[in-house]
Symmetry: C2
Subunit: 252 residues, 2 copies
Amino acid sequence: MSTCVESNITNHLIEHLPEQERLLLLSHCELVVLQFGTVLCEHNEGYSYLYFPMSGFISLVTKLPPHKPLEMGVIGNEGMLGVTMVLGLPTVPMQAVVQGKGTAWRIGVGELQQVLQQCPQLRSTLMQYLFILMQQLSISAACAHFHELDQRLARWLLMSQDRAHSNEFHLTHQFLADMLGVRRSGVTVAAGVMQQNNLIQYSRGKINITNRNALEKVSCTCYQKSLDDYKRLLGQPSRDSERRLLTEQGTP
Amino acid sequence: MSTCVESNITNHLIEHLPEQERLLLLSHCELVVLQFGTVLCEHNEGYSYLYFPMSGFISLVTKLPPHKPLEMGVIGNEGMLGVTMVLGLPTVPMQAVVQGKGTAWRIGVGELQQVLQQCPQLRSTLMQYLFILMQQLSISAACAHFHELDQRLARWLLMSQDRAHSNEFHLTHQFLADMLGVRRSGVTVAAGVMQQNNLIQYSRGKINITNRNALEKVSCTCYQKSLDDYKRLLGQPSRDSERRLLTEQGTP
DNA sequence: TCAGGTATGTGCGCTATAACACGTATAGCG
DNA sequence: CGCTATACGTGTTATAGCGCACATACCTGA
């Protein structure tokens, strides 16, 4: 069963390519494991590898000392880490941390540049994704400024679930607080309310989404807006089919 | 005197190009006036022209109904409006409004695409500027979330002055409030304190910066960080020489 | 089995800002 | 010259989230 799911999960950007380009790109990639908590890229430092997650997900986090961190975007199998490479700049203005373990295709900076020469469609896809990322940044900014903790928490859980490919994933309150740029105890209170209303269930870092529909109602519209922005340029990620698979498994 | 200043103010991105490319680009541009309040581009709609301001400045504003607007970046003679064009996408995920009147070089979308084919250095410069814009977005996001009204107001005034090429410019409290995503009366209070401390002086929309050094101290570090991010990739904009000129004029 | 780390629950006082409301002054127009 | 819109000043109440502090529950390993 589990292998069945694995084989269905690919990276949507790669899937999106014509076969020729896809094969060329993959011939330069190697399969790596994304381990929870790994920092793939430090804030404002260059990177040597780019990652196309297939499962698991990566957070983009800004740091503005002496303040808490603040998450600006999430990268799962619908995107990639290091897309600024199409600008010729192997830097990302944020820290990239693995938030959900999984697997990814990895390629070196130099090799991608070579591949890009021969793959116009890849180039164009990455440019579109970069644009989407900019949209996400501006949504996140406004969301963090105007929306309240419970709405933002709901959104974050939904986005994580979309990318975790599981109803259950590992997130402590402290971690969520760092992503949302708020106090840990604030998250505890908001999550407590959600648990009382049976939207989620958690214990010592293991969060389980029990009522996704209700969670979508609590969330701010930024969640839907993000999905729409993505779909407009790059189409529907494979999210839905995976959800169906998961639901079949989810009640054993 | 005033003409002397005018002739010294150019667009830094254009200045940055080798002569050959600069002349080719300019041969496709026309000179236009940026009138205060003009909306050059609506939120999430395509644009037909790109602008390289020489004086005056343009704000990039996100809108998340039903909330107030929130400014994410400012474009003056150090940048351009429509840089997403290097991604092949003539859209900007924000509204663009003229906040300070001035003049700009304007070029059509199709023409720029032609010119880009022949100008590798232009392409690379625009890519660098796009990267800088992304950095600005993430700084603005964190700044709006963590920093307080007075700090943010100070930063905004400094950034405006840098791009207005004048110690005095037109900004009502309501306008500032919309940029900062806060209440109008909050701005009134913060600006009142600054006026009492002789940092600024204002009356019915005309704001005059009287003590720039002190204003820089009140501002959050995001102001300096923005400048640094720009300088790292594209060097020092012509800001300083202009400041000197202005100061000579400033005390008649 | 006990200690110590990790995760979560809860409370208290404080501050910034929201929402709303109303008062005052100035410019510019008829 | 006076009207009116615009710009600015001020106040009152409510609340979300902060900083800090401490209590409780659970896991894990010596």
